[in-house]
């Protein structure tokens, strides 16, 4: 039996340069980045991608006080996606809705805050918050979303480092195909800019971007790139089986065509281009396509000197010179690295290409690194192309997790 066809019917997002898909896409086409200076505890001013959605749009002040930033981002994105999907949420059986949210990490922000709090009380743990455990459990972002929406189906997070955004979608597609749920809210989120630890960790790795102009700091593929800009963000989708989406007359953004997830098993932090290439090839094969059938490849490249080159090596191995209709871009120049949200946001930024046949460019590339000079790389200016029927989205993460997700133009 052929597996059920799964389609994307709604998108809700917040990025450092936009709080809706329309705004986000416009900024990607106009080269508008969203990086700013932010005060980080113990570290002073750092560059970061900060989201400016209205948290009170869907939450009360008390919910914001009790909950987490990750929960708030999730709730905003989930509600925006539901509204965009046009589904009648009131009549949707809530026990048949699944929430699957990818995140790079969760709990660091709240733990750091509590340690800072008790430092003001001579480290006496009787001042430690009773909210610490519900705030730091790994399922917190999904759990807060289920509370806010009254969804009683499965709601949990998927920890997959910076591959997590893709993983949320992949897992949701699997659960829909298994019949575990009938409607899924899925994708990835990150609150990472609110933990000093992630900044300090990347700085100790010599992997934190520096630039006098914040908007130029994130520079994947540029010869002078010098590291990651850490960002927060979120992007959640509504996914449905095709027959369900059609039965309610839903608009369909795209169909899940194929995916693959594998592991490097070679290093804690260094990527492995051989395994990345295997992952991409397997996703293409599952989609029943050839490399030359892929029209947009959105890269994961984070602007680290080595990581970008290694991903380019993987892409070169899969696509080579024989794919004249394949265009390659990157979104992190605009929004930095949104960690667990990266894959989901970066896919969303490319979805409108099915309609406008325009590939958004990689920006901030003043001097292209020859090692990253892939054929079909779209730099600095958007490119209108003849055909966009398929988009491949790469997301890779620490401990060697690789994910590749392919969506295709929906046709009956």
């Amino acid at each position: 039996m052929k597996p059920a066809r799964i389609v994307i019917t709604g998108v809700g997002l917040t990025a450092p340069n936009g709080n809706s898909l329309t705004e986000f896409r416009q900024n990607l086409l106009h080269g508008i980045a969203g990086i700013e200076r932010m005060e980080i505890r113990y570290m002073g001013t750092q560059l970061a991608g900060v989201c400016h959605y209205d948290p009170l749009k869907y939450q009360k002040k008390k919910e914001l006080r009790v909950g987490t930033r990750a929960g708030s981002i999730s709730i905003y994105c989930a509600r925006e996606a539901l509204a965009d999907s046009g589904v009648n949420f009131e009549t949707l059986p809530k026990d048949r809705v699944g929430i699957y949210i990818g995140c790079t990490e969760h709990g660091n922000v709240e733990t750091e805050n509590e340690i800072y709090n008790i430092s003001k009380f001579n480290y006496d743990t009787k001042f430690w918050s009773h909210y610490h455990n519900p705030r730091t459990v790994a399922n917190n972002p999904a759990g807060e979303t289920s509370l806010n929406l009254g969804i009683t189906g499965p709601a949990y997070t998927i920890g997959a480092a910076c591959a997590a955004g893709n993983m949320g979608l992949i897992h949701a597609a699997q659960m829909l195909r298994l019949g575990e749920v009938d409607f899924a809210i899925c994708g990835g989120i990150s609150e990472s800019i609110h933990t000093f630890g992630i900044f300090a960790g990347f700085k100790s790795q010599n992997a934190l971007a520096q630039h006098a102009n914040p908007h130029k700091a994130s520079r994947p593929f540029d010869k002078a790139r010098n590291g990651i800009v850490i960002s927060e963000g979120g992007c959640l989708y509504t996914l449905e089986r095709l027959e369900d989406a059609q039965a309610r007359g839903a608009k369909i953004y795209a169909e899940i065509a194929g995916y693959h997830v594998n592991s490097d098993a070679s290093d804690y932090v260094l990527p492995n281009p051989t395994r990345q290439a295997e992952c991409i090839r397997a996703a293409i094969a599952r989609a029943g396509l050839k490399s030359s059938d892929i029209h947009i490849v959105n890269t994961h490249a984070t602007a680290t000197p080595l990581g970008d080159i290694q991903e380019c090596e993987a892409i070169r191995a899969v696509f080579g010179e024989g794919c004249p209709d394949t265009y390659i871009n990157n979104t992190k120049g605009y929004i930095g690295h949104c960690m667990g949200a990266a894959g989901a946001l970066e896919l969303a930024g490319n979805l409108p290409s099915f309609n406008d046949l325009t590939v958004h460019p990689s920006i901030n590339v003043d001097d292209l690194d020859p090692a990253c000079a892939l054929p079909g790389l779209v730099l600095n200016q958007p490119r209108t192309v003849a055909k966009v029927d398929t988009i491949l989205n790469n997301s890779f993460g620490m401990l060697g997790i690789n994910s590749a997700l392919i969506v295709k133009r929906f046709t009956t």
């Binding site: 009360k60 002040k61 008390k62 006080r65 009787k126 918050s129 009773h130």
Partner: protein, 87 residues
């Protein structure tokens, strides 16, 4: 500290932990949970804020005394006075 001042201390804490609530007409003799959206975690917040802001300890066995503003004032005012006397 007077009992009225003590009630204001408690109301100031509730204003922070339940920021969506209208506290302009809280009836001092009525249970707080019967007139405000407060749950058990919120009462733990009141206990925590009394500890943090005023160095007042409320043992679990005494939580019942935090039921209304009046009972708060009866229970907490002597504690505030004792604390002030200690200097």
């Amino acid at each position: 500290m007077t009992k009225d001042e003590c009630k204001q201390v408690v109301l100031d804490i509730i204003a922070d932990i339940a920021p969506d609530e209208d506290l302009s007409n809280v009836k001092p003799e009525v249970r707080l949970r019967d007139q405000l959206q407060l749950d058990s975690m919120d009462f733990l917040d009141i206990v925590m804020e009394l500890r943090k802001r005023h160095s007042i300890e409320v043992p679990e066995a005494d939580y019942q005394h935090l039921a209304s503003l009046d009972s708060c004032a009866e229970y907490l005012t002597p504690k505030f006075i004792a604390l002030a006397a200690k200097g």
